[in-house]
């Protein structure tokens, strides 16, 4: 199956938030009244119930010029996904045939390892359900040949969905056009440290991705690689040990009761 991807051309993004609204609607997410943090951003960061956030960054340049970057932020669906590597619960985080990184929430144990392992700081724990949530690239839509909801909603066509190889080419061409048009540091953001991403950006200033709220050189933390590589048996043993310990504790002492706790 063809690997799919999302292209975000930040040079034509106007921060209209149609993608945010579409995401909330399609994913049946709530519509809380937000708190004010002194910016145009809807929330300071992505949340377990808000997966698609446009980040607004005011950047003052050395020559006195000003940029106001608007960049849509969500799960990057990394080719080398730290969350999958880190996840101890078999099948809870998995890669679909089309390259999408998705969650099976029935299998998620809420350990939060994926949150630590994500170089983009995307997954979020829902404290009530104790499960972790993030963008799934509208897997229910892509499964039937539709584009993700955010793409459908974008009014300026700064968002494109399609085969990853095609989009890399489109992004490369667009960046070249921008450079020819005097935007010398225009480029593509598709960081090699995570094997590339299935969400690709065109940035007017690719030398400074942090100005767009993107990490400069994201990599999967070495601790995750070691932990889930050579030392995976140890972690699994600890996990199994923990579960066994809980089991024997229950057999030995029985369930805890709320009234015991308060007395």
């Amino acid at each position: 199956m063809v690997t799919v991807a999302k292209l975000i051309d930040t040079t034509t993004c106007i921060g209209c938030k149609a993608c945010e609204a579409a995401c909330q609607e399609w994913q049946d997410q709530p519509f809380p009244v937000g708190t004010y943090d002194g910016t145009y951003q809807t929330f300071p960061d992505v949340r377990h119930d808000f997966w698609n956030l446009i980040k607004f960054n005011e950047i003052e340049h050395a020559d006195g010029g000003l940029s106001w970057h608007m960049a849509k932020f969500q799960c990057m669906h990394c080719v080398d996904a730290g969350c999958i590597t880190a996840c101890p619960a078999p099948g809870a985080i998995f890669r679909r045939d089309n390259g999408t990184v998705d969650f099976d929430h029935d299998k998620c144990i809420g350990c939060g390892y994926c949150i630590t392992a994500c170089p983009f700081d995307v997954p979020r724990l829902n404290p009530i359900t104790q499960k972790v949530y993030k963008c799934n690239l509208c897997s229910d839509r892509t499964a039937v040949g539709l584009e993700p909801a955010c793409i459908k909603a974008c009014p300026t066509n700064c968002l494109t969905f399609g085969a990853r190889d095609d989009l890399v080419q489109i992004a490369t061409d667009r960046a070249r056009t921008l450079r020819e048009d005097g935007k010398a540091s225009a480029g593509v953001y598709n960081p090699a440290g995570v094997g590339g991403t299935n969400v690709i950006y065109v940035l007017e200033d690719a030398a400074h991705p942090e100005d767009y709220g993107l990490p400069n050189d994201p990599t999967v933390p070495w601790t995750v690689r070691v932990w889930q590589g050579p030392l995976k048996w140890l972690g699994n043993a600890a996990l199994v040990g923990g579960i066994l310990g809980t089991f024997f504790h229950y057999i030995r002492f029985g369930p805890r009761h709320a009234d015991e706790e308060s007395s």
Binding site: I14, K17, V33, G34, Y36, G38, T42, L66, P155, T156
Partner: protein, 793 residues
């Protein structure tokens, strides 16, 4: 729009000024992005704030709110001085060669003919020199000192880059960089468009501002060209339709509402049918009688006969000098001069200037009917004291208000069929998505039930003058709730005898044999069916005209004034962007803005105007034939052009007890109101999606001002004007740059409008702060560029 949204993709330069389409017209703005992507078009954004449009612009220049005419005057000067204007176009398609009376002049802020007592102009000297046949005299060389072209050069010689910088607060270099890009379109083979919105219309000199934009585009040869034009981005989905269908002073199709001195149909027709000013002018308004009589036939049916002037006497007449526009009738209401108000799809407490005055005025009514989707601030005005007392300490308690308020629930746009007329002048038919909830009714049913009841009362009880009501033709199949397809057919027009749909306004007659609800819309619903429901996506010219998508007024023409896209012989200025071509005795491409079978050189290119050409010099407006820079009614500085005449001498400035203006000493900061992309007016604070995406009112202010006042991002601040206050959290930003104006630092403060005392999210009404000042031509309030003070709470 002279052109249309899809046409913006044809531009080489997109000038956005007095608007913020990335914020307020994101869907249409895709075509500006397309121009950037596919043509490497340059986007120039000129605005007091570095806004969402500026974020994707190639050039951004900050200016002081209210200084736009100075900037545009500077561009006109830049084009003339550097000979960057399109000389052949200017000669061929404008009145540059026309000679003006010797008495015309401009001196220290006033044009000739100013009468200080009446505060009006006598326009006698603003006229063309005429020959013995009554035609305007011209000098094709443009060298005559009385030619429009020479007068124009003289008038704008004062608008140097340095003077622009001094008034607007940008630097001369910034101005020059933008001017170089904008004026690069002043030659064949380059097209530049202008997109504007309420940032231009909401000043005490707004009509002149848009006139200046039209003059610039004429000088650059951008009117009638694909990728050109002067393009108003309308603020509501159907405000273009509302405008086309009339206002207090306009009947449908921009025909004037009769004034008292026009006592008969003949006098009306005579007054409103101009004589041609050049021998080759088609002068299309000479057809006024056909449109007007057909309208009367639509209104009064069989009761409109030749003997009774087709019911001309049934039409209400406005007194010769009367003005019933918004600011005037609220002022009259506040003085106790009105008994009742029907507020239909309108929320004047929220969107009128000087909210305190709005509240005071409504409290003097006996009754008010509000027709709306929600309980609005207007419907609940009597609770203002209870719900937002901190802002309205003087507002009366509910117990002391005698106004009886009826709130009629109306269907919202998705709950009824009908049309939207968008900014592109496209009439797009829409279907009902779901039935209206509860007791809410579609608009036409509410109007019909009111009308039928009133007519019944007049028929039963008589009255002073019942005929205007009892003579109205109301032959709809369903009298209580007319089918909108039926209404649309009536608007298109029909032959009276046969009931057949007319094919277009060319078929309308002034002998009572045709009826037509709006001549401009004639052709929208023909014998071939509802043209507005068409969704064809064919684009044979490749210019994005989409002739088979919906229907565009007039005559399904997509680019207005498209005859000007070619030279005298009809050769296109730009072969790759020719909307029409003269081939084999007819025009191909767009519907020509010209006589369809007339050779290109047979007539003047602007067929609606008695001049036959476009007007650089336009005596139509009240404050002068050339736009001049005037300061807002409240300004932090003197007018650098003529200190003795600061404000537009013709501006409408109310002077009642509640109409106070502040001084620059008490209120040192320039404020402007604006909209945010997440919201639509005062509606969407009731909607879950919008109130999530932008939950809070805020006050945008420059970092330097915040530092001076010790204000941190998020601190609560109070903004006050001479009228009232608004409180909210501060948004401290680099995006509003302090400006150097007349040697001083001027700070500007930004206030988004969308909140009020009702809704899912609440906030202050920013119109608490705005002044009772109007543009004298349009009656639009000055919501941009008034003075405020600010304190940290």
């Amino acid at each position: 729009m002279t052109n249309g949204w899809t046409d913006v993709a044809n531009a080489d330069v997109v000038l956005v000024m007095g608007g913020n389409p990335a914020e307020n017209h994101p869907v249409g703005f895709r075509f500006a992005m397309e121009a950037k992507r596919t043509r490497k078009a340059k986007l120039v954004c000129i605005d007091p704030r570095f806004n969402r449009t500026a974020a994707v612009a190639d050039h951004y220049v900050p200016i002081r709110s209210g200084s736009d005419i100075a900037f545009l005057g500077g561009l006109i000067h830049y084009a003339l001085e550097g000979e960057l204007y399109h000389a052949d176009y200017v000669k061929q398609h404008t009145n540059a060669a026309f000679l003006i009376e010797d008495g015309f002049g401009f001196d220290e802020g006033y044009f000739s003919g100013w009468d200080a007592e009446s505060k009006t102009y006598d326009k006698a000297s603003w006229q063309y020199q005429k020959d013995s046949s009554g035609f305007a005299r011209v000098d094709e060389t443009l060298q005559n000192p009385r030619s429009v072209f020479q007068l124009l050069k003289t008038h704008y010689a004062r608008y140097t880059p340095e003077r622009v910088a001094e008034i607007c607060g940008c630097s001369a270099e910034e101005f020059n960089r933008a001017a170089e890009t904008i004026c690069s379109t002043g030659r064949a083979g380059r097209s530049g468009t202008i997109l504007y919105a309420l940032g231009w219309t909401q000043h005490s000199h707004s009509v002149q501002l848009i006139h200046a934009a039209a003059m610039l585009q004429l000088l650059l040869g951008n009117i009638g060209m694909p990728g050109g034009g002067v393009n108003a981005q309308r603020g509501h989905s159907n405000i273009q339709g509302a405008t086309d269908m009339g206002a207090w002073n306009m009947l449908p199709g921009y025909m004037k509402v009769p004034r008292a001195p026009w006592r008969s149909l003949d006098e009306y027709v005579h007054t409103n049918s101009p004589a041609p000013l050049r021998p080759d002018a088609l002068n299309y308004w000479s057809n006024t009688s056909k449109f007007f009589v057909s309208l009367l036939k639509a209104y009064y049916g069989d009761n409109a006969t030749r003997d009774n002037d087709y019911g001309y006497d049934f039409l209400p007449k406005i007194g010769e000098k009367d003005n019933y526009s918004w600011g005037f009738f609220f002022d009259r209401m506040n003085r106790g001069g009105l008994e009742g108000l029907i507020s239909f799809g309108m929320n004047p407490v929220a969107n009128g200037p000087n909210t305190v005055k709005m509240l005071s005025a409504l409290a003097k009514l006996k009754w008010m009917i509000v027709v709306e989707n929600f309980e609005t601030e207007t419907a609940a005005f009597w609770k203002a004291s209870e719900l937002a007392g901190e802002y309205y300490p003087g507002a009366p308690d509910a117990a002391d208000i005698d106004t009886e308020v009826f709130l009629l629930p109306a269907a919202c746009f998705a709950e009824k069929d009908g049309t939207f007329v968008n900014s592109s002048r496209w009439l797009q038919w829409k279907n009902q998505a779901l039935p209206p909830p509860g007791d809410s009714k579609p608009d036409q049913e509410i109007i019909a039930r009111l009308f039928l009841k009133l007519r019944e009362l007049y028929e039963d009880e008589g009255g002073t003058s019942p005929e205007p009501l009892t003579s109205i033709a109301w032959d709809y199949g369903n009298a209580i709730s007319p089918d909108l397809q039926e209404v649309a057919r009536e608007i298109n027009g029909q032959e009276v005898a046969t009931g057949r749909q007319v094919p277009g306004f060319g078929a309308l007659k002034d002998d009572g044999s045709t009826r037509c609800g709006n001549w401009l819309y004639s052709g929208s619903y023909t014998a071939d069916g509802n043209q507005m429901a068409r969704r064809g996506q064919e684009d044979p010219t490749g210019l994005g005209l989409y002739a088979n998508w919906s229907w565009s007024w007039p005559a399904n023409r997509r680019v207005l004034y498209n005859r000007a896209s070619a030279d005298a012989d009809g050769k296109p200025w730009d072969e790759s962007r020719a909307p029409i071509r003269w081939q084999g005795g007819r025009y191909t491409g767009d519907v020509p803005d010209f006589k369809a079978d007339a050779a290109p050189d047979s007539l003047g290119s602007f067929i609606m105007l008695p001049e036959g050409v476009a007007k650089l010099f336009a005596p139509d407006f009240v404050e002068g034939p050339f736009p001049e820079h005037y300061e807002p009614a409240e300004s932090p500085v003197d007018n650098a052009m003529h200190p003795a005449v600061g404000v537009n001498p013709s501006a409408t400035i109310f002077t009642g007890e509640l109409d106070t203006l502040g001084t620059r000493q008490d209120y040192p900061y320039v404020a402007l109101t604006y909209r945010l992309t997440e919201h639509f007016h005062y509606w969407t604070k009731h909607v879950k999606t919008s109130s999530l995406l932008q939950s809070n009112f805020f006050v945008e202010l420059p970092e330097a001002l915040a530092a001076e006042k010790g204000i941190q991002n998020g601190d609560r601040v109070r903004v006050s004007s001479a009228r009232g206050t608004a409180e909210g959290p501060a948004m401290v930003t680099k995006r509003i740059r302090p400006l150097q104006v007349a040697g001083r630092t001027i700070y500007q403060v930004g206030l988004p409008i969308h909140w009020g005392f009702l809704g899912r999210t609440k906030g202050p009404l920013v119109n608490n702060l705005t002044p009772s000042v109007l543009d004298p031509n349009s009656g639009t309030p000055e919501y941009k560029g008034f003075l405020v003070n600010m304190e940290k709470l």
